[in-house]
Amino acid sequence: MGLFTELKDSISRVTDRLFAEEEPKRIGIYGPPNAGKTTLANRIARDWTGDAVGAESHIPHETRRARRKENVEIERNGKSVTIDIVDTPGVTTKVDYEEFTDEMDEDDAIRRSREATEGVAEAMHWLREDVDGVIYVLDSAEDPITQVNTMLIGIIESRDLPVLIFANKIDLDEASVKRIEDAFPQHKTVPLSAKEGENMDEVYANIAEYFG
């Protein structure tokens, strides 16, 4: 075997490893505003890399740009997966800046709503072009059957993306995981509290199993 072929072989072995096996899956965290997407992204990033992804807030549309945490390696039960976590702005079909004027002055509220609309548009774009799988986060204390959830799950399904539904905020008294399971029987639902760190073992086992 000539030097050239040998070299080519070893280069292709390296590139195979770089681009096939090790290529992280880009997992988008989607869901309505305030569901706890950033709280979840931060918990995952902190548990496996030590640092956080972005700011959490009780005011909807806190996340207004898709934010990425790269190369998060998650291992559970002998399965391992390397993912890029993309925390996205909560998706909606309407934004009214007056909803924020109780919390901030009008200029800031207008700026927040403008950034929110740009962020939602960007999140939709990512969903069509740039993600390999989706974690769909819902607040278990809220009715899951909304038009936005219906449309987004439909969009995700039409792109044949693997999706896990995360029923978040199970620490709340009003939480109902069953309501979410009944609404999306065609998908796996994983209950958790991102804030309290409840059931994270099952969360990681499912991520490793499903996206690995």
């Binding site: 309407k94 934004v95 009214d96 069509r128 059957i145 219906t150 439909g154 969009i155 029987p185």
Partner: protein
């Protein structure tokens, strides 16, 4: 002394316009033509009803374009409700609502977010309140 201000356009119609658009009319249109037609109607304060709805990809673009057009005090976005046609009795109703059968045409109602409010929705009924202004 200022006159009593009535900022309403005196020529504006009193009622709410409803456009019912047939599947046939939508068939020949490109995605962006459909979205433009819907949003132009909604910007005029109309309620747009599509006999056959949009594909998931078109819905995703509708959200994206709607976001680009939201403007403080002028346009807050859209309210949208869909209703699956019941021809596919084999799958469960929820399965169909949740987009399990993506080819199933679905009746779709779209209106300006500040004018239309969904009061109630269940398996057989959507009830919405439409206000002027």
């Amino acid at each position: 002394m200022p006159k009593a201000t009535n900022t309403d356009d005196p020529d504006a119609p009193d009622g709410v316009q409803i456009d019912l658009i047939s599947g046939e009319r939508m068939d020949g249109m490109a995605t962006m033509e459909k979205i433009r037609m819907i949003l132009d109607g909604v910007h005029d304060g109309n309620i747009v009803i599509l006999e056959e709805g949009l594909t998931p990809d078109e819905e995703s673009r509708l959200i994206e374009v709607t976001m680009a057009e939201i403007s403080p005090d002028e346009f807050n976005g859209i309210e949208i409700e869909t209703y699956p046609k019941s021809e596919t009795r084999n799958s469960s109703l929820l399965g169909r609502i949740m987009g399990g059968d993506e080819s199933a045409a679905k009746l779709t109602v779209i209106g300006p977010a500040n004018q239309i409010e969904t009061l109630h929705k269940d398996e057989t009924l959507i009830s919405a309140l439409v206000s002027r202004d």
